[in-house]
């Protein structure tokens, strides 16, 4: 996480340097192209990683589940073991580009279907917590950075530092025990009461009831980072010469803040949010496990234990693609919002 903080700053600084291209279109093309290359590298690594690992995944499933020799043969056939490695890679590429991620070893369901089922819960959890943590974190950062040294600043910084240092699963366990144990204010896990997704308002309330604790955990843990970044980048901005000029010109404090300081200080935050988005998805693994939330994190964790290689490959690919995509969006947003970059 810390690397992100500084990496984001560094990235922002890098971008505010002299531009590399001669036009917006060219810059966009370069960025998209580079993202595509990264994605290809991810595909290669994904493939090799799971082929290089000890093969014969069927055997281990068999041990737990008494698969017969025929079933194991079927699994090995599906996974393509035994054929020349380059041919396997070719098949893998072809299949993946067609959207076929193979079938799970464990229950024979298509991996795309398993991922599809688990995607929405993770997006809901991560999306909600990201929105909340961004709003609250940025607000705390702005207020703290502006009134530096004040009581609010000192208290909030202390509070935020503690949150930043807290392992998210620990916070989850503590909340679970206190709020969902004897005192059953919240459910002990899952996304719906077993009655399932009820229609209408009752269903929504049930969903919210289950969402509260896991969302609270992720929100608290991530708002710390946003608040710290926002605060320090606002402090940086506040020292800038142009602001002194603005004040000297007679602009009111809040105008200075609103029109100049905050928007410029937001840049690293935007980058950070985008960078984080990709990681938060994979980082939700622990929270989903603690709260039995049926999302991608939990899916990849249980695939790890099987070992269900096709599902692992699929989730790994998805996580990497999400990060690449989020980075690309962040890059593009910066290009749009930062006039210094655009002009180059």
């Amino acid at each position: 996480m810390t690397a992100l903080l500084d990496g984001a700053r560094a990235a922002a600084e890098e971008r505010s340097g002299p531009g590399t291209g001669s036009g917006l279109a060219r810059m966009l093309a370069v960025k998209i192209g580079s993202a595509a290359v990264t994605l290809f590298v991810v595909l290669v690594v994904n493939f090799w990683m799971f082929r290089v690992l000890p093969a014969d995944p069927a055997r281990n499933l068999a041990r737990q589940t008494a698969l017969t020799a025929a079933q194991q043969a079927a699994i090995n056939r599906t996974f393509g073991l035994g054929r020349p490695i380059l041919q396997q890679f070719g098949n893998y590429l072809a299949q993946t580009l067609h959207g076929n991620l193979g079938r799970s070893f464990v229950d024979q369901l298509p991996v795309t279907e398993k991922i599809g089922q688990a995607l929405w819960p993770t997006v809901l959890l991560v999306g909600t917590s990201t929105v909340l943590s961004t709003i609250i974190g940025v607000w705390i950062g702005i207020r703290g950075g502006w009134s530096r040294g004040s009581k609010f600043d000192r208290t909030s910084t202390a509070f935020v530092n503690v949150l930043y240092s807290m392992p998210d699963f620990w916070l989850g366990m503590v909340l679970l025990i206190t709020l969902a144990g004897k005192v059953a204010l919240f459910p002990d896990g899952g996304m719906h009461s077993f009655a399932g997704a009820q229609p209408g308002f009752a269903g929504l309330r049930d969903l919210l009831w289950h969402l509260t604790l896991p969302c609270l955990v992720l929100t608290l843990v991530y708002l710390a980072e946003y608040s710290l970044v926002m605060r320090s980048s606002l402090i940086d901005e506040l020292k800038a010469d142009y602001l002194t000029t603005a004040r000297a010109k007679g602009l009111r404090d809040d105008m200075v803040r609103r029109k100049h300081a905050v928007p410029n200080a937001l840049l690293p935050s935007i980058t950070l949010i985008m960078l984080n988005l990709g990681f938060v998805i994979s980082g939700a693994i622990t929270t989903e496990t603690v709260f039995s939330w049926p999302g991608l994190g939990r899916l990849s964790y249980e695939a790890l234990n099987a070992p269900d290689y096709p599902t692992l490959e699929g989730t790994f690919l998805l996580f990497s693609a999400a990060v690449i995509f989020a980075n690309l969006i962040g890059d593009l947003l910066l290009t749009v919002f930062d006039p210094r970059v655009r002009q180059a």
């Binding site: 560094a10 690594v45 392992p167 692992l312």
Partner: protein, 316 residues
């Protein structure tokens, strides 16, 4: 501000370049320490760190290592705090306090070692990329680009799934965990170092060195690296915080080293073997320890940054 050097005073009139350098460095260090001392949070962090490291180093004196072996555990399992077991016992009947003390060793070892790897690779990449990137020649920029694309890819890998897969399949020893965390966290450092290196490259004495015929290696080693060091140090401290958290996550998920106790592993055991009506301190203690250590590193790191980078200093 004049300095009065009271201890190990240098010769009255410095004679050799080396002694000159020594005086300069000593003065700089003293200045640094005075500035640092003004940062209350940084001092708090430093004190906590000192205590933690002291505990880790003196573990054998504080708690008998026999207490780690479940064979010798005779207490009731999952018992709450008592006089003989101030933090209670775990599900094997071992003292949570003993586990906590010895766990500090492994947690800190993993933290420092993984950080070492991360910083080493990151600094190397950053300095080389920054140096060659500032050369006007095309070859330099290409090297820079290639290196940074490589780093970008590492920045993109989701750390947790990769670590889980590698640890689960290669074998969850502490060594594997250290390497995995190190490999997935160096890219951020590389970026920062590169940015700083680019800034350093524009300074006049580097142009002078080049004009005098200094080779690439000499420039990087003698000029760029020392000027990048301060920021690198701050970044290192911050990275340790991150690696300790990363290790705790891996251990909690059951992919850590099951034999050597770390704080994360204690949390994982507490998760699996039950708290609730059992010994809640077993869950709380390692968590609080992690929070304290990570916070301490973070505070120290930020304080270092503030001292080294005047822009970030607090107004007094």
């Amino acid at each position: 501000m004049t300095q009065t050097v009271t201890t190990d005073a240098p010769p009255a009139s410095p004679r050799t370049p080396r002694q000159l350098a020594w005086v300069r460095r000593h003065a700089a260090l003293s200045r640094f320490w005075r500035e640092y001392r003004k940062d209350r949070r940084g001092m708090a962090g430093l004190i906590i760190l000192a205590v933690m490291i002291a505990v880790a180093l003196t573990a054998p004196l504080l708690a008998n290592s026999r207490g780690l072996n479940p064979i010798y555990a005779t207490a009731a399992p999952n018992a709450g705090p008592s006089l003989s077991y101030p933090l209670g016992t775990d599900s094997d009947g071992r003292s949570v306090l003993t586990l906590l003390i010895w766990g500090s060793r492994n947690s800190l070892i993993v933290g420092f070692s993984a950080t070492f790897i991360s910083i080493l690779i990151g600094a190397l990449f950053g300095v080389v990329a920054g140096h060659f990137g500032s050369i006007r020649a095309r070859a330099g920029r290409v090297t820079d680009n290639v290196l940074m694309r490589f780093a970008d890819w590492f920045l993109v890998i989701p750390f947790l799934p990769l670590a889980m897969v590698l640890a689960r399949t290669i074998g969850p020893s502490l060594g594997v965990i250290i390497v995995v965390i190190g490999l997935t966290s160096w890219a951020g450092t590389a970026r920062i170092v590169r940015a700083q290196a680019l800034a350093v490259e524009t300074r006049p004495y580097l142009e002078r060195a080049r004009a005098l015929g200094a080779g690439h290696w000499h420039q990087m080693y003698k000029h760029v690296l020392p000027n990048v060091m301060p920021l690198l140090l701050a970044n290192t401290i911050l990275t340790v915080a991150g690696t300790i958290l990363a290790e705790s996550t891996l251990s909690f998920l059951g992919v850590g080293d099951p034999i050597r106790p770390t704080w994360g592993q204690m949390l994982g055991s507490a998760y699996n073997y039950g708290v609730g009506t059992g010994n809640v301190v077993w869950l709380l203690a390692p968590g609080i320890a992690i929070i304290l250590v990570v916070m301490a590193f973070t505070l120290v790191g930020h304080a270092l940054e503030a001292v080294l980078d005047p822009k970030l200093r607090e107004r007094r």
